[in-house]
Amino acid sequence: MTTAVLPSSATVAAVALEGVTKVHGRGASAVLALDRLTLAVRPGEFVCLVGASGCGKSTLLSLVAGLDRPTAGRIDVGGGKTPALMFQDPALFPWLTVAGNVGLPLRLHRTPHAERRQRIAELLDSVHLGEFAKRRPHELSGGMRQRVALARTLALDTPVLLMDEPFGALDAMTRDLLHDELERLWQQRGLTVLFVTHNVREAARLADRIVLLSSRPGRVIYTTPVEIPRPRRIDAPEVAAIAAEITGRLRAEVSRHGR
């Protein structure tokens, strides 16, 4: 990934996408997943990307994470450090303990042993799993596994965190609690978060700004700031109002494809 200096007139964005196009496949079966998508995320901003199926949300995160290359356009990540990426599936390594999973990125970045142990303990404490360090992933609940995955991505210590529907598979109560946890960690660590979801309430609960994407191909069709003071509650009327607004636009976009 290229680390380019943005024009000095603009505030340096934590993540900047400019005219990003992604085509999957070749020839007749080629699918245009993203079409000239432009988006800038400010440092410390929490942006939720919302869209129906086929809007290329996951493709977008893969591109920003450097796991895939855009067909055209530029992606700049402030500081040039590859952002950490979290999936809907915790994607924990079943052969490692909880501590081993959280410590793997540290091992891969050659953190000395003593420092590693200390960092693992801190990270597990930060997701309230300090006492589960020696457990195996299969012994934990879905919500706990996702917290281990969060601690593991935080271990990368990147300023930008990419999240691909991370709470999509969790029950409502666990999800609400994890919203609180994520919001707290985001504030404490001054992270920049790019969060993909199809759950509009979740977006209204978490985001500083909601970006709505069209489907096939993915393109930014609507952007709105969420100016509800924090801490927010997912069942607050203001959150519901924004969610209703986004849902309306999302339905209009989806209906377009039925015609």
């Binding site: 891969l108 012994e139 946890e181």
Partner: protein, 283 residues
């Protein structure tokens, strides 16, 4: 408040996942069906002997064989045979292991190589090892090298196939996660692909062992006279001397080695499955 709720949820989730049987109970549950199976087989053998289907010099009764076995275990010949055969098995298997791992990794990694020899490996696996011996003897005469040649050819394809299947079936999500966490190149193999492929690799190793052991026995039956007391050679001698008791006793020794090695592989496999949490708790 939220943190207490979180801890409460954690405790509730984990409470349902307890309850295990004692070690002794599990060991007994694993052992008794095997003992019963052996008992039934021996009883069947005895019944066949009683029917007088074959004279006792061809098919000796179990008691005579077990008596002879006990007697032989008190002498050095069986142990020497075990030592010679065991050394050959270890060397041959180690060579097959090295070749199988390298070949498997190379085929799993390079598409061209897979297209070229991927299906050949499976074809080699189906080749009966005994069919290799004429060529092996031409190449290496009646020597240990000929035996090693066949053992390696018998075992390496299974090991390679285990590695290939293991690498192929690494969940793409784990690869993506590993790469995002900073594992590239060799580190990706060491920290993600190898451990994820381990169950399949162990299965390949186990199958490779079975092929190696069979090939070795075939080789020792054919190529006698090198070490007079190798287990396979003892079978040949026992047949030539029409010593059926010695013959069957030696076969039991060979079988027991197979069972013990299989048990070792089984233990490794179970250890992996327990770590990964892919053991049915009802078992």
């Amino acid at each position: 408040m939220a943190v207490e709720t979180l801890h409460g949820l954690d405790a509730l989730e984990l409470a349902a996942r307890r309850g295990e049987r004692s070690r002794a109970a599990r060991a007994w549950a694993a052992v008794w069906p095997k003992l019963a199976a052996v008992g039934i087989a021996v009883a069947f053998w005895q019944v066949v002997v009683w029917t007088g289907w074959k004279p006792e010099y061809a098919l000796p009764p179990p008691l005579a064989v077990f008596g002879r076995l006990a007697q032989e275990l008190g002498r050095s010949q069986v142990w020497e045979g075990l030592a010679i055969t065991g050394r050959r098995a270890a060397i041959g298997y180690a060579a097959a292991l090295a070749l199988g791992l390298v070949l498997g990794l190379a085929v799993a990694r390079f598409r061209l190589l897979r297209t070229a020899i991927g299906s050949m490996i499976t074809a080699l696996q189906t080749m009966p090892s005994i069919a290799w011996f004429p060529l092996a003897i031409l190449l290496f005469q009646l020597s240990e090298q000929a035996i090693f040649f066949v053992v390696v050819l018998g075992a390496a394809p299974s090991i390679a196939n285990g590695v290939i299947a293991g690498v192929d079936y690494v969940p793409p999500l784990l690869l993506r996660a590993g790469r995002n966490l900073g594992a590239r190149g060799v580190a990706l193999y060491r920290h993600v692909i190898a451990p994820a492929a381990l169950p399949s690799i162990v299965a390949g190793l186990k199958q490779g062992w079975a092929f190696a052991w069979r090939s070795l026995m075939a080789g020792e039956l054919i190529i006698v006279g090198l070490g007079h007391t190798a287990l396979g050679a003892q079978l040949t001698f026992a047949r030539e001397f029409s010593d059926a008791e010695w013959l069957v006793a030696t076969m039991i020794v060979i079988l027991v080695v197979g069972v013990l090695v299989d048990a070792a592989f089984g233990a490794v496999d179970r250890a992996i499955r327990t770590r990964w949490g892919v053991v049915d708790p009802a078992q």
